[in-house]
Amino acid sequence: MSYVPNTEQNRKEMLKRIGVNEFSDLVGAIPDSILLQDELKLPLPLSELGLTKLLSQMAGLNKDASQMICFLGGGAYDHFIPAIVDHIISRSEYYTAYTPYQAEVSQGTLQTIYEFQSLICELTGMDVANASMYDGATATAEAALLAHAHTGRGEVLVAGSLNPNYRKVINTYCGSIKLKVRSLPLVEGLIDVDGAKKKLSNNVACVIIQTPNFFGLLENVKEIEPLAHSVGALLVLVCDPISLGILKTPGEYNADIATGEGQALGNNMSLGGPHLGYFACKRSLIRRMPGRIVAATTDTQGRRGFVMTLQTREQHIRRERATSNICTNEALCALSSCVYLSTMGKSGIRKVAELCLQKSHYALELISRIDGFKKRFDTPFFKEFVIETPLPAKKIIKALLKRNIFAGVDLGLFDRKLKDQLLVCVTEKRTAEEIDCLADELRKLA
């Protein structure tokens, strides 16, 4: 079977039409000296059996969280996923459908999106949520665009403790519309409130704060909220959704917009994606909200049904006046989160959050007693913490890989000055035995 759709005849006709005899005439301008003279050096074709063996071998070189003791965090987390999640999302009605928004044929999918939005509202304490965004970073960048469109102001203040990858995405989004991004300085891993005061002005569209922040620490949102609002800026809070099982919600903090990464809710880390961003806001901002929104309604016979709503916000109708160019969502990932949240329930999420809190504190206690390893910060944290290491974090990570442990994230990846700092995350999945094992291995390196 030929994978090339053009026949020899097709090719001749096309060449004739554009007035050349041979294909090589088209590339005649390329000097011989840089043209490939021999055949490509490719291995011989393989049988299906041979290919399957080769690819399995190659795939076997990967190490993932299912075979390792995983202390990775920094944006993607190894939380437990109940079997029911995969079971539900594997139904072909959900799994194979593409852009399943057409109300006449997609009531099931639309209802799951509606339920997802409702669950995100409950979790964040916000009025309205959309059907999901690409990931936490793009959801947060979209919040900056919304704040700019809503306030008409030209500057965005971003906490220096926001995930550095999110900051990069915000810079990319804002740079393209000449929206100025300024950083809020840190003291001991937390936003310096006095420093923030100096940067706030009536040109600030929003203040973006992550809590727990990139280092795992809880930010002093209570003090910053009134400062931001007093100059008319919107408050954007970026939260780990699992942490909302025990911590104050963005709604309780009087945030205007709540965004974050939803992967922790029933989705695998999958080497960084696909994940999903959640996006929720106050009702007054709904007309500027990016992305799809599904609403409940009644049909002509009075039956309950679900449809997309407020589409005039979106780019396919609003064109260049739209706040956002996102006219899609991460439906399958959002469905995973929806099934996860409804399976765990309020008490389940709280339990997961409590276990993360207890186990991470146990781990820090243990590690900081090892000679040469020191805890970097003294303020409250949730499930991640930073350790100062006696040798570069990179080396520790490499050494522990051989012991089937993902030791954590090397902060030197983001800032050379932090190369001796390791970001460790402990989820509910880690047992006391596994945490002890991490400590033992670190002790050997001290």
């Binding site: 007309r287 005039t312 109708i317 609003r318 064109r319 006046r321």
Partner: protein, 130 residues
């Protein structure tokens, strides 16, 4: 049969289908019956704040119907003195009473000469083929 398009004789019009009514130096602005019919059900209208300066034939707001979004153009240059707050919750007034309860903004006019370039009822009737 639908009733024919209403064009009132006491108003002035723009090519973009706004109407204007002058009372002293304050003008009231809305969109025409023809415009609301073309748009269909209006679901939302975004109006400027009182005190905003608007310019002749520059956008002052946005109107959303179910399947279209359009800019609203100011017939004159001046300052917004009032907006129709009822429209926030009852945007359908633009459909049911475009020349009355569906009014949008009041503008304190800066230069009455600007009125000369606006369309008369007869000109507007020609434009929409009424």
């Amino acid at each position: 049969m639908e009733a024919s398009v209403q064009i009132r004789d006491d108003l002035k019009y723009t090519k973009e289908h706004e109407w204007l009514k002058l009372e002293g130096d304050v003008t009231t602005v809305g969109i025409t019956d023809y415009a609301q019919r073309e748009l269909g059900d209006v679901v939302f209208v975004e109006l400027p704040e009182v005190g905003t300066q608007v310019e002749q034939m520059k956008p002052f707001g946005v109107i959303e119907a179910v399947k279209a979004v359009s800019d609203l153009f100011s017939p004159v240059t001046g300052e917004i003195t009032e907006t129709n707050s009822k429209l926030q919750s009852q945007s359908n007034l633009i459909n049911s009473d475009p020349y009355g309860e569906g009014w949008m903004i009041k503008v304190k006019i800066r230069d009455p000469k600007e009125l000369d370039v606006l369309l008369s009822p007869a000109d507007y009737r020609k434009l929409v083929g009424g």
